[in-house]
Symmetry: D2
Subunit: 310 residues, 4 copies
C-alpha cells in the first residue's frame, strides 16, 4: 500500500496515519508527505498513491475547508476509514530553559488560538508569531528563529527539541478527525456501527430545502451526527452541505434515505461508508427503524401486492 | 358475478351498482339486496356473493361509519372500484296534489336534513317524520301513512309515486361515494390515476403519531385526499384512521410509503387500490416524486453500493 | 338556567344533563327535550335556552355528524363543558319473560350494532327491528309492538319496563361524550387540564395543508386528542376538520397555536375551551412547552429587542 | 467613531471598512488595524473601539471560523451592519516584468487556492510560497523576498507594487462578507429587508434537534439563508450553529421564531439584526406570513378570548 498524507513529516497527520495497521516503520508501507491536502488527493487521483490521509475537522478548530472542497469537487473519492486522534500541544525549545526567558513563540494560528490562555498565563511577555504549520514552528525553533515553538510531540522529537511543557492546550481533550480516502470502490463491509458521509447540494429554488433534507433522514431513522456547509463558489448564499450520518450505505434505512436525497436534492455525492471510530457500543435504532423492521415491511408489502390478506 | 348491495331495492345503492358494466337487467348478473352493510359484507365474506356494493361517504352526510367499521374489522376485504353517484331527492306522493295540502312528510333523518331549507320554504306547515331509509319513506307514502315522502327518484318509480318536486336538496350537487368490495386478491392494475385506501392504527404511546403518519406520505409525494377517524371501541380517544391516498399499491412511491406506515404504526390494514372515479386527467407528481424518479434513484444507489463513482 | 337537550326524555342525553349541578328535579332548572340536535341548538341560538346539551361522539358509534355540522355552521356557539357518560344497554320488556320466548326486538340501529354479539347469542331467533331512537324502542315495547327493546336503563324505568338483562353491549365500557353548548361569551376559566375544540378549514390549494395544521400544534407542544372530518357540502373531497386539543384558549401555547392556524388555514372557528372530564391528573407539558417557558422566552425576547446582552 | 478592523493595513478588511459613511481619510474617523480577529473584538469589548469590522465568510473560502467562535463566546457582541465586498486578486511585483521570469510567488494559502488555475496556466514554473496574509505577500514582494505576490489591489498600491495582472482569481466574482460589530444595544431599525444572525446550541439529548430548529423557523415563515456549524470545543460531535435568517428581531414572525428557539434549544445567542446588503428588492413573505397576518391573527385571538363570536 502506498499512502499519501498531509505533511510535513512530524505532524499530527503522520501520527494519525501510523495508527493504521501496516504503517509502522518496520512494515513495507510507502508513506509520502504531501505539501497540501489538494496535493495529497491529487496524488491519489493520479494513481501515485492507493490511499490518502487528510484532516476533516478538529474539535476546536472545526472543519478543514480545503479537504471538504477537494472531496466535493474533481474526480470522486471516498472515505474508507476515520481516525480520531487526540491532539496535544507542547511548548518546545532547542534546550531546556526557564519559561520566563522566552520572548518569541512560533505557532500555527490555530495552535496559538487553542493554547491562548496557557500562553497568556505562563509566557505573558512572549510575542506569539504566526507560522504556517506546526512543523514549521518546530523547525523555526530548532533553527533559532524563535525562542520556542507550539507543536506536536512528534514534531518536537523529530526536530530534536526539548519539551518545556506538555498538554498546554486550553481544552485538554482536543481531537482531530482524519479521513483515509481512496478512489471509488466497494465500501468496507458494514460493522453495525458505521458512518456515511455525503455532499449534498440542495435545490435552491425550493422553500425549506434543507428542512426537506433533514426530513428524508429522520423519516428513515437515520441519525445526523454532523453537518457542515461550504460555499459552492458560485455566489454568496450557495452552499454544499456535508453530512455525516449514522449507518452504512448497505443498510436498508440508509439506502432508502439516500434514494430520497437523490430525488429531492439538486445533487448528492456519496463520500463513503466506514466504521465509526472509537465507539464501544453501536447505537440502537428506535423501534420501527432497524433493518429487520424494513425487511418485515418489505415482506408485508409483497403480500399486500400479491393480494393475500395482509 | 353475484353482487350483494345495501338494500332495500330502489335506493341509491342499487342505482350505483347498476352503473357497473354487466349489471343491467338484461345481463345475467345476480343482484341481492342486503338489509344492512354488515349483512352485505358478511354475505361476501361467506362466499355467497362475489362482490358487495356499500356506501362509503356522502358529500353532505359524511362518512358511513358502519361501512368503515366493517372494513376495519373481521375478515379482510378490499375495495376494487369506487362509484360516485349524484344523489338527488324528490318529494313524491301517491298522487299529484298541491304542496299546501301536505301535512306529513316521511324522510330518512339524513335526507330530511339535506332538504331542510326546501321543506321549510315549500311545505312550512308539514311535520317531517323520521323513518329508517329512503325506501321506507317511499313505501310509507305509497301506503298512505304519510302525505308525501322524501326519496330517490328510483324509489318513487318503484313504488309508483308521483313526483311533486325534483332536486329538492339544499345542495344541488350532492353525491354519494360507494365502494365495490371483494375478498382479497390481486388489485386491479394501475391506471395512472388510482386511489389506495388504508385503515391505520397509530401508536398511541408516541407523541405526534398522526403527524408522523402524514409525514410518511408527504415525504414520498403521496397525496392524502381524505382522512376519517373512527373509534376503535377500546375507549374514548382511541381511533382508527381511514386514509384515501393518491396512487396505487404497485406504484413505487406508494409502496415505500406503505412500508413506512407499516413500520411506524401500531397496525395498517390495506383496503384496496382502485381507479379514481370521474377524473379526466391524472394528477402530475411533483418533480422528484414520479415513479421514474424513484427508479432513477434506485439505479444510482445500486451504482453507489457497487463502488462505482456516482 | 334554561336547558335544551336532545330528547326524547328518558335517553342518555337527559341522563348526561342531570349530572350537571343544579339540574336535578328538586332544582328549579328548566329542562326542555328537543326533537333533534338542530332543534336544540336553534332554541339556544334563538335565546329560548341558555345552554344546550347534545352528543358529540360515542366510543363505539363515533362522531355525531349532525352536531359537528351544526357547530360548524350558522350562528357561532361554544362548548362550555363536556360530559362523558357510560352508556349501558339493557334488554327490557313489558314483563319478565324467558329470553327464549322473544321473537322481536326493537333497537336503534347503532344500539343494535353495539349489542350484536349478545343478541346473536342470547336471542338468536329474534328479529331485530330498527327504530329511530332508544326511547322509541322502549315505547314500542311498552305498547306491545315488540317483544322487547334495547334501551337505556333510564328509558326502561320511565316506560315501566322490566329489565331482562343488563350490560348487554359487546363493549362493556362504551361511553358517549356530550357537549354543553352556549352562545359565545368568555370561556370558563382555565383549570390546568382543559380542552379546546376547533373547526378548521384547510387551504385546499396548498400541498400538505393538513400536515401544516398538525405542525402548527406540534411546534407549540399542543397535543391533539381527536380529529374528525366532516364534508363541507361543497363537493366530495372538501372537509372541515374538528380538532380537540389539550389546553385552554387562555394558555400561551394554545394562543400561539391558534394564531398560527388562523394564518395558515382558510378559516378557523373557535368552538370553546372547557375542563377535560374525568381526568384525575393534568398532563405534564414536555420541557420547553409549559406556560412558564413561553413567558421566560417572552422576557428574553424583550431583553434582546431592548438591546441588552441576552 | 473609533473603529477596529482586521489588519494589517492594505487588505480587504480596510477596503470594506472604508465603504462605511464617515470612514474616508478626510473624515475624522479613527481606524485601527488589529493583528487578529480576537484582537479587534477584544478592543471593542474593552471599550477601546466603538465598532469592529471583521470577516464572516468568503464565497470561495467559506466561514471565517475565528470570527464565529469569537462572536459565540466571551462578552456578547452584535452585528449592526454587513458589508459584501468583491475580492479581486492581482499579481504584483516591485516592477513590471514578463510573467515568464517569475520563479517565486508569495500568497496566502486561501488566495493561492483561489488563483490556482490562473497561476498554473500563466506562471507554470513559479513556486507558490505560503505566507500568512495578503499584506504579508505584498510586503515580501516589495522587499524582494519573492518575485511576485498575490494580493489585493489596495495592498499593491500601499506597498508601491506594479500590477502585472488583474482579476486572476478562478472565480471572477468572489466576495467576502464582513460584519461591523458593536457592543450590545438597540439594533438598527428594521428596513423591510434585514437579516438576523444567531448562535444556536441544540439540545443534544433530543432526537432530531436540528430538524426542530429549522421547523421553528419554517412555521413562522422565517427564511434561513445560511447555516454554519462550529465545534463548541467540548468534544467531537458538539456544534454550535450559526444561522442567518431573513427578517429583523422587531418583526413579529422573527420574534415568535426566536422565542420558539429559546424554548427548544439548549441556548441561543442573539448576534444582531441589520440591513441585508446589496439587495434591490425585499423578499415578499408567503401569504399568511407577513407582519400584518400576524397582527390580524392577534386581533382574532383577542376577540376569541374575550368571548365575542369569532
Amino acid at each position: 500500500m502506498r499512502y499519501a498524507y498531509l505533511g510535513p513529516e512530524g505532524t499530527f497527520a503522520e501520527q494519525a496515519l501510523r495508527t493504521i495497521p501496516g504503517t509502522d516503520s518496520a512494515a513495507s508501507a510507502d508513506l509520502k508527505a504531501a505539501r497540501s491536502v489538494p496535493e495529497a488527493l491529487d496524488a491519489l487521483r493520479a494513481g501515485e498513491a492507493d490511499a490518502a490521509l487528510v484532516p476533516l475537522e478538529n474539535s476546536i478548530g472545526g472543519q478543514v475547508g480545503v479537504t471538504l472542497d477537494e472531496l466535493a469537487n474533481g474526480e470522486p473519492l471516498v472515505i474508507i476509514r476515520e481516525v480520531v486522534l487526540p491532539v496535544q500541544f507542547v511548548l518546545a525549545a532547542r534546550a531546556d530553559r526557564p519559561l520566563a526567558t522566552i520572548r518569541t513563540v512560533a505557532a500555527h494560528p490555530q495552535a496559538g488560538t487553542q493554547c491562548r490562555n496557557w500562553l497568556r498565563e505562563h509566557v505573558p511577555d512572549a510575542e506569539v508569531r504566526d507560522v504556517l504549520s506546526n512543523a514549521t514552528a518546530a523547525i523555526g525553533a530548532a533553527q533559532g528563529d524563535y525562542d520556542a515553538a507550539v507543536c506536536a510531540e512528534i514534531g518536537a522529537r523529530r526536530y530534536k527539541l526539548t519539551v518545556l511543557a506538555k498538554d498546554i492546550a486550553d481544552h485538554a481533550d482536543a481531537v482531530t478527525r482524519f479521513a483515509l480516502v481512496s478512489r471509488p470502490g466497494p465500501p468496507p463491509p458494514p460493522t453495525g456501527d458505521d458512518l456515511t458521509t455525503l455532499a449534498v447540494y440542495i435545490a435552491h429554488d425550493r422553500v425549506g430545502a434543507l428542512l426537506a433534507v433533514l426530513t428524508e433522514l429522520s423519516v428513515r431513522g437515520v441519525n445526523l451526527t454532523r453537518i457542515e456547509s461550504r460555499p459552492t463558489g458560485e455566489r454568496l448564499g450557495r452552499y454544499v452541505f456535508f453530512l455525516d450520518c449514522g449507518g452504512h450505505v448497505h443498510d436498508i434505512p440508509m439506502g432508502e434515505a439516500l434514494k430520497g436525497l437523490h430525488r429531492v436534492c439538486a445533487d448528492v455525492r456519496f463520500l463513503g461508508s466506514y466504521p465509526r471510530a472509537g465507539h464501544d457500543q453501536a447505537p440502537k435504532p428506535r423501534p420501527g427503524y432497524a433493518d429487520r423492521d424494513f425487511l418485515e415491511a418489505e415482506d408485508w408489502l409483497a403480500r399486500v401486492r400479491a393480494g393475500s390478506a395482509s
